[in-house]
């Protein structure tokens, strides 16, 4: 790729970037969120078009205007969000787009299964071709995704943040697969911000920051410290968390059980307690009941048995408003699905769950001046960048949206806060800012339940850690006891000896 430039309005996502990939090597592209690595790869894979620059494959200039062109050029991409169709079988997903046909129009499923089996043997990655993707765990889904790329005959394989959704053990497995693919003659681009993975597999490393190419180096010549310095532009100080006096019990969940559709409970006899001045982390691969737990805690979902007590009030199966009145605030896991109304203005988004307070509203009628002041105040306090408070929230960047949501929930000054994936998909500066605010709240003696699939986040903030697996609490650790290995093992459904 030569001189690739891509701009979104005033924002330059890629500024004159050139990269080369040799046959049979693993090139790692590292950078913070928003550094432009994903954009670069989307251009290579034809999902976005570059404003200028060209792409050469085996010395020939190729025009890649759609994924279809990319696949024809032998480029495949394992995306961060799997591009799979859950109701279809593994084989159907793998051959998708290049289906074996009989009599030109019919889909020859038998042939598909056969060639998928052959492919599995060839690369030593085994799956059951007839299993529905919806029934596969995430690690297996990724394997299907990789097989699909191989089936398409890709020689260049792009992995976009492949480890983000995996447990530590699955990551080890993945890295082994990547090395195997290299041995089989494939050229690989690995996009990641996890530097330990880079050190484990990469041949060369390319560092990006704010749309610019900072440096390309051989792996042997660099270190994690150097890479992280280049990525961020300054050295990161690790935060020291002081022990503080813990207060009274704020949240207690007793024997919470929520039935699922398939006869297996989604949440199975869960007990959790959180005290004031404490951040309690819940680790786990997403989809193990965390979302449902949040919904039960906030009152969105009704459950069959158990009790939830927040700040001394039994709020089991109470409406959302009562939960909030008892002192529960919540940073939702998905800021777009739960956390805001994209087309509503910043003011309207900021006052949600505040608006019934008397200084904002009297007798069902808003005090316009006060609502605007309130919104502007909390946005200023949390460093949200905006042009007008009448702007629609969808015009803000992900980090700013998240800061607004965090601001809104922390400004409830509630004794209990649920922080679910509080920093998903935002840049390091904003992550650092939000972590600081959460710790500030902890120091004020409030209780925080942190639910995150990002283990580093859990370890950075939590006083105690629960591990959730298949709707159950698989283990509980204090800050001192917890190690990545132990937690990772429980996340996989393993058991600790002794």
């Amino acid at each position: 790729m030569k001189h690739i430039t891509k701009a979104y309005g005033p924002l330059v996502a890629n500024d004159d970037i050139s990269l080369t990939l040799n046959k049979g090597e693993i090139l790692a592209v590292v950078g913070e969120n928003g550094a432009g690595k994903s954009t670069l790869m989307k251009i290579l894979y034809g999902l976005e078009s570059a404003d200028s620059g060209e792409i050469l494959i085996n010395g020939e200039v190729r025009r890649i205007r759609s994924p279809y062109d990319a696949i024809a050029c032998g480029i495949g991409m394992v995306q961060q969000h799997f591009m799979l169709f859950p109701p279809f079988t593994a084989a159907e997903n793998i051959v998708y787009g290049h289906e074996p046909k009989s009599r030109t129009v019919f889909f020859n499923r038998r042939e598909a299964v056969k060639s998928v089996k052959a492919l599995c043997t060839q690369y030593g990655m085994y799956i059951d071709p007839d299993v529905k993707v919806a029934d596969c765990p995430v690690g297996l889904q990724q394997r299907i995704e990789i097989l699909k790329v191989l089936y398409q005959g890709a020689d260049i394989i792009i992995f976009d943040e492949p480890s983000a959704v995996l447990t530590p053990q699955e990551v080890t497995e993945l890295l082994k697969t990547i090395k195997d693919l290299k041995r089989a003659g494939k050229s690989i681009i690995l996009i990641t911000h996890k530097l330990s993975e880079v050190m484990a597999v990469a041949d060369r490393v390319m560092v990006m920051r704010l749309g610019n190419l900072i440096k390309v180096m051989q792996r042997e010549e660099t270190s994690i410290e150097e890479m992280s310095f280049l990525m961020v532009g300054h050295t990161l100080k690790t935060r020291e968390i002081q022990k503080i006096q813990q207060g009274r019990q704020i949240l207690s969940v007793e024997h919470l059980t929520l039935a699922g559709t398939a006869g297996k409970p989604v949440i199975d006899d869960v007990n959790i307690n959180v005290r004031g001045g404490e951040i309690v982390g819940i680790a786990g691969v997403s989809g193990n009941g965390q979302s449902e737990l949040i919904q039960c805690l906030t009152g969105i979902r009704k459950f069959q048995s158990g009790r939830i007590i927040i700040n001394g009030t039994d709020v089991s199966n109470c409406p959302v408003q009562e939960n909030r009145d008892s002192g529960c605030a919540c940073i939702p896991e998905d800021r777009y699905f739960w956390g805001n109304a994209a087309e509503a203005t910043l003011v309207e988004n900021s006052i949600m769950s505040h608006y019934k307070k008397t200084h904002l509203m009297k007798h069902g009628i808003f005090n316009k001046k006060n609502t605007c002041t309130f919104a502007n105040d909390i946005m200023a306090e949390f460093d949200v960048r905006y042009t007008s408070d009448r702007q629609a929230i969808q015009e803000l960047s992900g980090g700013n949206v998240q800061k607004l949501i965090v601001a809104r929930e922390i400004m409830q000054h509630s004794p209990f806060l649920i922080a679910a994936e509080p920093t998903r998909g935002i840049d390091i500066g904003a992550i650092d800012f939000i972590h600081g605010k959460l710790l500030e709240k902890r120091e004020q003696g409030d209780a925080i339940l942190l639910i995150s699939s990002e283990l580093t986040e859990i370890f950075a903030l939590s006083d105690r850690i629960y591990v959730m697996y298949e709707g159950r609490i698989a283990g509980e650790f204090t800050r001192e006891e917890a190690t990545i290995d132990k937690v990772g093992l429980l996340m996989m459904g393993g058991a600790l000896d002794g």
Binding site: Y45, L47, S66, P67, Y68, A70, I71, M77, Q79, M83, L84, F85, P86, P87, F88, E92, Y96, G97, E99, K101, V105, F106, F107, K148, A259, G260, T261, A262, G263, K264, P265
Partner: protein
């Protein structure tokens, strides 16, 4: 009620079913590609009108049929451009298009025929009828299938073909995949937008057949706004069939029966009430269907 009378009622039911069936197939064809098409009503009406106009000038069945189908496809194409290409909300496109077709047909009627109300007669031809002479041994069966047109039979064949299309063909497989996730399809080189536009246009063609049968199947006539909600009845039929083409035959037959009852019961009950039957039954049917679905959902949860 004698047997032959019953056979006649069943015969009417078949006739009333066809337009609903075609429109329901059109609806589910769109739904399977994640498009909610609200403009079926307009597609039906446009086809009915254009078929009659072509019939008026040419007195030729085939030309009328083709003209009607083309009109349905054309309206659908406009819907597709607005809804899929320009991302306008389905409800807005649907309502506006339905009303637009309604007013354009009323407008053209006055331009062409100089009157409002209905167009009929003038030596216009009806669709070719098929009489199954081998059924003559039983007057009941013979009456049941008497004078049905080719298009009436075609409806059931098309339903089966659509079933096979989804189940067996690559193109149908891609169609379903777009309905599950358009972004995934796009990222794998299958152009989801193109498939969606194609789905809407095909729904227009299907509605075209439905509209032509509606105007030229029984009596050859066009009346202002003559589809009177059939497009929406068909949407109900398709959703009750959970977008399964073969089940849609069943649900369409149900609504066909209701439409036929509303005519046959006129001898016994005041016509103002019988006319309301199909509409009330649609409301009732999708409600009952909702009850059944919620009960089914509750069952496994209870077991656990």
């Amino acid at each position: 009620m004698n047997n032959l009378y019953l056979a006649a009622v069943i015969n009417t039911t078949f006739r009333y079913t066809t337009p609903v069936l075609f429109a329901a197939l059109g609806s589910l064809f769109c739904t399977k590609a994640a498009v909610f098409n609200v403009a079926l009503e307009g597609q039906l009406l446009a086809a009915s009108f254009v078929a009659i106009v072509a019939n008026y000038y040419t007195n030729n069945v085939l030309i009328s049929l083709l003209a009607g189908v083309a009109a349905g496809a054309f309206v659908a194409w406009i819907v597709a451009i607005f809804q899929i290409k320009w991302k306008v909300r389905d409800m807005v496109v649907g309502t506006a298009m339905n009303l637009l077709v309604q007013s354009v047909t009323a407008f053209l009627m006055q331009i062409i025929y100089g009157s409002r109300g209905t167009v009929q007669g003038f030596g216009m031809v009806a669709l070719t009828k098929i009489n199954l002479s081998f059924l003559k041994f039983s007057p009941f069966l013979y009456r049941m299938f008497e004078d049905l047109s080719t298009i009436d039979y075609l409806g059931y064949i098309v339903a089966v073909l659509i079933f096979i299309y989804f189940k067996k063909t690559v193109s149908g497989f891609h169609h379903l995949s777009v309905g599950i996730s358009g972004t995934a399809a796009d990222s794998l080189g299958v152009k989801s937008q193109r498939i969606q536009i194609r789905a809407v246009v095909i729904s227009g063609i299907l509605c075209g057949f439905g509209g032509v049968v509606h105007a030229m199947g029984n009596v050859t006539v066009f009346a202002e706004n003559m589809t009177s909600g059939r497009g929406f009845i068909a949407m109900g039929a398709a959703s009750m069939a959970q977008s399964h083409p073969l089940v849609a035959i069943g649900s369409s037959l149900f609504f066909g029966t209701m439409l036929s009852l509303s005519k046959t019961l006129q001898g016994y009950i005041n016509s103002y009430f019988t006319e309301a039957i199909p509409y009330l039954c649609t409301v009732l049917a999708i409600t009952v269907y909702g009850v059944i679905v919620t009960m089914q959902k509750r069952k496994p949860a209870m077991k656990a």
